[in-house]
């Protein structure tokens, strides 16, 4: 951290407790299956399952956690950010051919559309496992229903910045409600608060304050 001319604490982006690499390092947690039980649960479902939940509820984090726990060859296909040509991303990432050695995990499968998802199931019909993420339950059995809560947000904030957790606690419930439970958006606003980017909250010199309206 460095101090600016006005002697206010200025945090480097790399040191911001809500920097993306720190968020990415969070371990998935849920009220459902424990991470160590996911692989067994998936196989009990016949190797075909859906991870369901709203935006920012941890589906991607769970999929990445699952990919580390599966044996055999794992193909992780991230489709977020590929809304224009998601099927091209799928074909580029899938093994050729997909066979019984492979576990295929597709994030944001909803971007494929109904026809694309059908093509995916056909393409992966011989795969040992197929897991997709989506916002709503579909044809596949649900492996985990990711739900967020203010308590979960508080728990994660405490892990990311234990020294500031008490100061942040009063605002978390309102933050959670304002972002409709989307933890990703909550973390972005908290990033801005620590970075001193104009927003509703700020952390200056370890003090939480509500910023005055910006003059125009």
């Amino acid at each position: 951290m460095v101090f600016d001319r006005r002697a206010r604490l200025r945090i480097r982006p790399a040191d911001n407790p809500f920097a993306s690499h720190r968020i990415d390092a969070l371990v998935f947690r849920s009220t459902g299956p424990k991470p160590e039980d996911l692989a067994e649960r998936l196989d009990a479902l016949g190797g075909r399952a859906d991870v369901v939940g709203p935006e920012g509820s941890g589906k991607t984090t769970l999929l990445e956690e699952l990919s580390r726990r599966l044996d055999g060859e794992v193909a992780l296909v991230p489709l977020s950010g590929t809304s224009r040509r998601p099927w091209s991303t799928v074909t580029a990432r899938l093994p050729h051919p997909v066979d019984g050695r492979h576990s295929v995990l597709v994030d944001c499968a909803g971007l494929l559309g109904a026809a694309g998802r059908l093509m995916l199931r056909r393409r992966c019909r011989n795969a040992r496992r197929l897991v997709i993420t989506s916002h709503q339950p579909g044809r596949l059995p649900t492996l985990v229903d990711c739900q967020t809560s203010p308590e979960l947000l508080a728990d994660l904030v405490c892990e990311l910045t234990p020294e500031h957790a008490d100061r942040l606690d009063p605002i978390l419930e309102e933050l959670f409600r304002r972002h409709h439970g989307n933890l990703r958006l909550c973390f972005r606003e908290l990033y801005d608060a620590f970075a001193g980017i104009n927003g509703k909250f700020s952390i200056l010199n370890s003090q939480l304050s509500v910023a005055p309206p910006t003059r125009r």
Binding site: D15, N16, A19, S20, I197
Partner: protein, 126 residues
């Protein structure tokens, strides 16, 4: 036994000017034989949003054995400089990586006209 990797730059330097040669030596003491060792000079971003990384120069040693040392000579690019703004920190580093296994060691550097990273943007300030 625990793997031990060491990176040292000539004179213990951690600041280099853009385009300058980064020289030093590495040493290793491994639990098992490795196929390859690679020393990389790279920059990476951290902060808000997607992370970027680029390996600017690297040098590989095949069949390095369980222990040894060797010198390296890598060249920094003319940019980007090490900097921190509000959204992004761009950092430079040397990294020694063992293949297979991924055991690694990193040494942070500053690449730029000054010995400290460039500070971008105005301070948080209402």
């Amino acid at each position: 036994m625990t793997n031990m990797l060491t990176i040292r730059t000539d004179g213990g330097r951690t600041w280099f000017r853009p385009g300058e040669i980064v020289e030093g030596d590495v040493s290793w003491l491994l639990d098992t034989d490795a196929d390859d060792l690679e020393i990389r000079l790279f920059w990476y971003t951290s902060g808000k949003g997607t992370r970027d990384v680029e390996i600017v120069d690297s040098s590989r040693t095949s069949v390095p054995g369980q222990n040894g040392n060797r010198s390296f000579r890598l060249q920094a690019s003319d940019g980007p400089y090490s900097f921190s703004g509000k959204l992004i920190t761009l950092s430079w580093a040397l990294e020694l990586v063992v293949d297979p296994g991924g055991v690694s060691e990193r040494l942070d550097l500053v690449i730029g006209p000054q010995p400290i990273e460039v500070q971008l943007g105005r301070p948080d300030g209402f």
